[in-house]
Symmetry: C2
Amino acid sequence: APFCSKEVNYGNVSDFLINMIYLLMALYKEQLLFTPNCMKFNLPLPPLSRLVQKAELTRLSHTFLHVPQLHWIVVEDAPQPTPLVTDFLAASGLTYAHLHKLTPKDRKLQEGDPSWLKPRGAEQRNEGLHWLREMGAAAEGKEAAALEEAVVYFADDDNTYSLQLFEEIRYTYRVSVWPVGLVGGMKFERPVVEDGKVVRFHTGWHPNRPFPIDMAGFAVSLRLILTNPQARFDGDAQMGFLESSFLQHLVTMDDLEPKADLCSKVLVWHTRTEKPKMKREDALQKQGLGSDPDVEV
Amino acid sequence: APFCSKEVNYGNVSDFLINMIYLLMALYKEQLLFTPNCMKFNLPLPPLSRLVQKAELTRLSHTFLHVPQLHWIVVEDAPQPTPLVTDFLAASGLTYAHLHKLTPKDRKLQEGDPSWLKPRGAEQRNEGLHWLREMGAAAEGKEAAALEEAVVYFADDDNTYSLQLFEEIRYTYRVSVWPVGLVGGMKFERPVVEDGKVVRFHTGWHPNRPFPIDMAGFAVSLRLILTNPQARFDGDAQMGFLESSFLQHLVTMDDLEPKADLCSKVLVWHTRTEKPKMKREDALQKQGLGSDPDVEV
């Protein structure tokens, strides 16, 4: 591997004995385009794409390229795969599946809706689960045995993942959990562990939700997903209950497996990328001097 | 390199014949802490650090780990190296130099100043140039010859870099230039190339600055920096003139070497990370229920 300049030791993982990680990522943020803030800027954008999308996919892919046995499942909120994402994935060097599932119009945020009104990405994550279950049903022999050991993690396109996180995720028997940094108006949220068991949650909001955990804070064994076909994300869930709507089909709090040194380390951060300002672009476009639309950004 | 799961081909670069890239990064954003917005939130922060700093360094390091022959020069705006950055770099797997240079108080943004009032990172970038020149003066024989071929690039902690960019940078004779995405209120800014030469600049603002180029849009041969010891960043430069203050010691527009397919491809994006909201953290702290300050975020 000539382009990997350093060997980094992330623990005692053998390259030959590691479980597959299915990283399911819903690209649902296109709908942000329809919020009043974007309307105001009158962005010169093609529909169903976001200006920072290629940048975010680029830096995420650099992280994922360091993770052995990773299979990236990308689900676009689009009527068909977009050329930008298709070309990006083909050149990424990663193993991936490229799916798409358009959110029905009545489930989408409408102009003027606050972003928390409807859960986002539920349709796309369910499409990914469907793909995993189809694959599971078709697998036989050694392949089926390997799937028994695989783990599913729900990634997001602007979060930041340490490489150590993936080594923690890899050994998930049912559902593993860990802290998430910079989430929910907090420095971090985390499961509170006593005597090796999760007993409650450190969170700034609704600690009594069934599972007050951000999407970035848990992973699920593929075996559990395959043996519980009813487990899916509820697109009608109240704000903050999307994760619970899925997890309550699979485990109880007592079953949760604390990772990241008994939930004492932050290995993933809920970073968000600013929407770029397009004020000057807009002004120049009006004079016919805008940026060349043929250059992909 | 067992943790590099795929071999990616970024072009016709031989691993044995590549120039060193010195990536100089000024960590100057600590001063944002003193803006009114942060005062309002009353962030529970140690001085001279930012909440997203570790996350940003983490994902940047994943990009840099793919680049052969990279030497990362990190210059903190601090009276001494901070433990967070020191520990992070030691564990990163990268080759680096960790410097520090505190911005004098009269050069720092004060409470209430708009962020564009004073150029940021000038002191730190000059400190990095000083380090390079000391190293250049001390080098002899083969080492000195290798430095002749090396290239210097000024990185930023929230930008997004494609891996292809570094292969373009590597072959810089004097000063190379290319487009930067999502910068200056534009989809992209770029040098305009005619007959292989840069003839003007596509930018939304002051196109007649000597070099209307963002810091992310050029690289300089180390030889040129060593043979022009007067070239430095002017901390008193007007907004938008910091890059020009350095480059005008080194080249004319006629000398610029267009990269990225004659400046037709966007290979770097000026992404920005949102400041995380700490509303609930603040409320919980007042009840003595804040996040454990011993957990590094």
